[in-house]
Symmetry: C2
Subunit: 342 residues, 2 copies
C-alpha cells in the first residue's frame, strides 16, 4: 500500500507531500453523476457496493494518496432518533428538530453494527479493494456541527435556534452535546473496527462561533472524541472550517493533524498551531478555475509554507466545487507530487 498519507499524518519523513481532496468523490466527476442518475443520495450512502464504487472513483481518476469513505455526516443522526431526508436544492432536512430539554428524550445511543451496517460494510469492501492502493479515511461530523443540524433541522445561515439554545438554555445544549459525543465515539470506533485507517472530524460550522463560545460549546466535546479514539491507534484529523479566528483555541486539541481552510495563510496557521504540528490544507477550491500557471504558483506557495510544519498533507481548504474540471483536479494531484518531491 502507498502509505505516504499515513506516514505524513504521524509526522514521519515522506518522499513527497501526499494529497487528497475534500469531497473528492462527488458531483464534479461524470462517473459519480452516472451512479447518482440511478439512485438518490441517501440510497447511494446506504448501498455498500455503490458507496464503495464512488469512493474509489477519485482514487482511480486522480491518483490521490488516500480514499475517504463516501457517506454523509448526518448518517448516524438518523439512528440517533431523527428522520433524515435530502432534497436536491435544499440539502438535508431533519424533521422535528431538537429545541428543548424534552426533545432529548427522543435521542438514543446507536449500535453501529445494527444501525448503520451499510457504512461498516462499505468500509470492509473498500479495504479489500484498496489493498495495494491507498489508505482509507473514515469520518464523522464534530459534535457541534452535528448539533447545529439537529437543532436547526438542516443547514442554516445564522444558526438562530442553535445560538438561542447556547445562550439561553446552555444546560440543554450541553446535554445534547454529551449524547452526540457518545454517539460519535461509538460510530468512529465501529469505523476503525471495520477497517478505517485514519479518521477526520468535520467541524464545518465551528467558524460560526466566537472564540469564547467555541471554547465553551465545541472544543470540550471534540477533545473528548479525540481522547476516546486515541486507543484505536489511527491518526485523527480535525478540520474546523472557518478556523482563522479559532487557531489559538484549536491548538490545545490532541489531534494528529489540523485541517486548515483557505481563508487563513497556511504559514501563519502553522506559527499559531505550532511548528511541531502536522497540518492539512489549504488551497482555495476556486483556484482550480485558474489557468495552469496561476494554479502552479498557488500550489508552490502552499507547499513552501507547509514545509515549516512537522508534516503537511495537501488538500483544498474546503470541498471541491461541482463546477471543477476532473482534468484540473488530476493536474493538481500531479503538481503537488512533482513540486514536493525533493
Amino acid at each position: 500500500m502507498r502509505d505516504v498519507f499515513l506516514r505524513a499524518c504521524r509526522g514521519e519523513e515522506v518522499e513527497y507531500t501526499p494529497i487528497w481532496i475534500m469531497r473528492q468523490a462527488g458531483r464534479y466527476l461524470p462517473e459519480y453523476q452516472q451512479v447518482r442518475s440511478r439512485v438518490d443520495f441517501l440510497t447511494l450512502c446506504k448501498t455498500p457496493e455503490l458507496a464503495a464504487e464512488v469512493t474509489l472513483q477519485p482514487v482511480r481518476r486522480l491518483g490521490v494518496d488516500a480514499a475517504i469513505l463516501f457517506s454523509d455526516i448526518l448518517i448516524p443522526v438518523e439512528p440517533m432518533g431523527m428522520k433524515l431526508r435530502f432534497y436536491e436544492r435544499k440539502g438535508p432536512v431533519l424533521s422535528r428538530p431538537i429545541r428543548r430539554g424534552r426533545d432529548l428524550r427522543r435521542l438514543r445511543l446507536i449500535e453501529p453494527e445494527k444501525d448503520v451496517p451499510f457504512v461498516l460494510e462499505t468500509i470492509r469492501i473498500l479495504r479489500r479493494r484498496l489493498k495495494r492502493a491507498v489508505p482509507l479515511i473514515g469520518f464523522s461530523g464534530a459534535p457541534f456541527t452535528l448539533a447545529t443540524y439537529m437543532i436547526e433541522g438542516g443547514t442554516s445561515k445564522n444558526f438562530t435556534h442553535t445560538k438561542r439554545m447556547l445562550f439561553s438554555e446552555p444546560e440543554v445544549f450541553h446535554q445534547l452535546m454529551e449524547i452526540i459525543t457518545n454517539n460519535t465515539i461509538l460510530y468512529l470506533r465501529a469505523q476503525v473496527r471495520a477497517g478505517a485507517q485514519a479518521l477526520q472530524l468535520f467541524d464545518s460550522w465551528a467558524g460560526a462561533l466566537s472564540p469564547e463560545d467555541y471554547r465553551s460549546f465545541s472544543r470540550p466535546y471534540v477533545q473528548k472524541v479525540i481522547e476516546a479514539l486515541r486507543e484505536t491507534g489511527v491518526p485523527i484529523i480535525y478540520f474546523a472550517n472557518g478556523c482563522a479566528g479559532l487557531l489559538d483555541e484549536i491548538k490545545a486539541l490532541p489531534a494528529d493533524v489540523f485541517g486548515v481552510d483557505w481563508r487563513v495563510d497556511l504559514g501563519r496557521a502553522i506559527t499559531r498551531l505550532g511548528r511541531h504540528r502536522v497540518v492539512q490544507g489549504n488551497l482555495d477550491p476556486a483556484a482550480l478555475f485558474a489557468d495552469m500557471k496561476v494554479l502552479r504558483e498557488k500550489v508552490a506557495s502552499i507547499l513552501r509554507k507547509g514545509r515549516r510544519a512537522r508534516g503537511h498533507i495537501f488538500n483544498l481548504g474546503h470541498g471541491i466545487l461541482p463546477e471543477t474540471s476532473p482534468d484540473v483536479a488530476r493536474a493538481l494531484v500531479e503538481m503537488v507530487h512533482e513540486l514536493s518531491r525533493r
Copy 2:
C-alpha cells in the same frame, strides 16, 4: 449634538463607549415593518422621506450614538449600468452580470446628484432632523464586495464566477475594480457633500478570499477609496466581514476605524491591528438571544478587551438578526453605556 461617536472615531477621549448597530434600521423593528408593509424595499431606498424616517427609528427607540443612512450597497450599481431588483427571499438580483471584458463597456461613471439624488436628499433631510441628536454615517460597499454582486448577478455561496475571473482573467477583474473604485469615490464624496459625517465601507465578502488574494484583489482598491476620501475630513470605518484571517493584511490600510466581526477575539484583533488603532465591534448578533446575565457578561468582556485599543466603538460583529427583540437591542445600548462609563 451628542458627538461621542465621532470623537471615538478620531481616537479622542470619550466619557463612555459609543454604540451603533449594523442594520439597526431593519426588519426587527415593528415600526420598520409597518413602513415596509406599504412599499417595497427598493422604493423605500429611493423615497427620501421614508428612508429618512426608518433611519431615525432606531435612534429614537434604542438611543444609539450614531444614525446610519438607510440604503443598500447596490444602489449606486444601478446607475453604473446594471438593472437591480430585490426579491423577498432571494435577495438582490443584477441582470446581465459582468462576465468578460466586453461587458465592461456597459458600465459608466455615475453623477450622484443626477443618478442617486434620493440618497443625497435623504442625507440632507436627516442632517436637518438629527441636528441636536447624533451624527450620520454614510456608507458604500467596498469595491471587491460590489464586484462579486456585479459578476455573480446577486448573492453567492462560492463566488464561482468571481473567482473564475480573478484567476483566469485577472486583467478584466482589475479593470472592473478600477471602474467600481472610481464610482465609489464619486458616490461617497457626494454623500459627504450632502452631509454624511462619517463613512463606513462594507467589505462583506472580503472573507471569501485567501489572504494572498485579498492583498491582490481587494486591498489596493480599498486603499484607493480611503485615500481619495481623506480630503473630506470625515472618519472612515472599514469593515471586512470574516476578517480573522486577513488582519495582517488589513492593518496596512489607512482607515480611521477597523470594524471587526464576532468570529475573532477583539483583544487578539487589537494586538494584530495595533493598539494605536480604533476598533469597532464585535458582539455575536445572536448573543441578543441570550438571557440578560449572559448578555451582560459578553458585553463586559468585549468592553474590557476594547479598552486595550486607542478607541473602541461598540457594535455587533455583523448585522442585527431579524428575530431580535427591540427591547433587548435597547437594553444592549444601555448596558454598553452603563458598563463603559468610568
